[in-house]
């Protein structure tokens, strides 16, 4: 199960498991947003390289307009995946405070 939606404050909320079978759904959602900013991952259990690709493509698009994603509330496992992928160098990643 994977869900992606806008939260009350305009943040992108991801829930469940972002695997290769769900990556297109996430990409379509993010592509439809002109300037997504915060991505709340508090309820994101799992992400694979297909999900990383979605985030990377979106970040590269936002680079053209000076924007960028801020990834918040990721679990320890997902933060490890980000670090091993070098995403901590190209995304702002924090605890959401």
């Amino acid at each position: 199960m994977f869900e992606i939606r806008l939260g009350d404050k305009g943040e992108v909320v991801c829930e469940g498991r972002l695997d290769a079978s769900q990556a297109a759904k996430a990409q379509v959602f993010l592509d439809a947003l002109a300037a997504p900013d915060v991505v709340d991952m508090a309820k994101l259990e799992y992400i694979s390289s297909a999900g990383l690709g979605v985030l990377l493509r979106t970040q590269k698009r936002l680079l053209q307009t000076g924007g960028g994603l801020r990834l918040v509330n990721a679990s320890r496992h997902i933060r490890d995946i980000f670090r091993y992928s070098g995403f901590d160098r190209i995304f702002q990643i924090d605890d959401g405070t």
């Binding site: 290769a20 990377l56 590269k60 091993y84």
Partner: protein, 134 residues
């Protein structure tokens, strides 16, 4: 040891994760190790799907636990060899404008598991990951 075969499609991931979940529950595999093993299996399985699309053969998954080690093996049938242990490295230090999606999966597997092995015999590719658990 348990095994099952799955259709060559991303849509089979749900079936695969249900299969692994039953194994993890039965073997008491900790949550953190489940995520790592599922990650590795997805990366290997989706590579089999992407790079052998026309192949009608299903892909076999075997799971085994011995003491504190879980071994997961994917066997792909009637395929050309590709040694995943020698896949090129992605330069993760590149700036955003030079990064491209793709290529991270196998690199992350090598970082996350204790052993990754590849065997190719009789046009069968066997990729095995071993993870020390809890």
């Amino acid at each position: 040891m348990i095994s099952a075969r799955f259709p060559r499609s991303f849509d089979a991931l749900d079936q695969i994760f249900e299969f692994t979940r039953r194994f993890y529950d039965a073997e008491g595999v900790p949550d953190e190790d489940r995520l790592v093993l599922d990650f590795c299996l997805e990366e290997i399985f989706t590579n089999c799907v992407k790079y052998n699309r026309g192949n009608p053969q299903e892909i076999e998954l075997e799971l085994d636990r011995s003491d504190d080690r879980v071994q997961a093996r994917l066997t792909d049938f009637d395929v050309e060899p590709y040694d995943v242990t020698r896949a090129p490295q992605v330069d993760i230090s590149l700036p955003l404008d030079q990064r491209e999606p793709g290529g991270l999966g196998l690199q992350l597997i090598r970082r996350l598991v204790d052993e990754l092995t590849y065997d190719y015999t009789n046009r069968q590719s066997r990729i095995t990951v071993t993870k020390n658990v809890g």
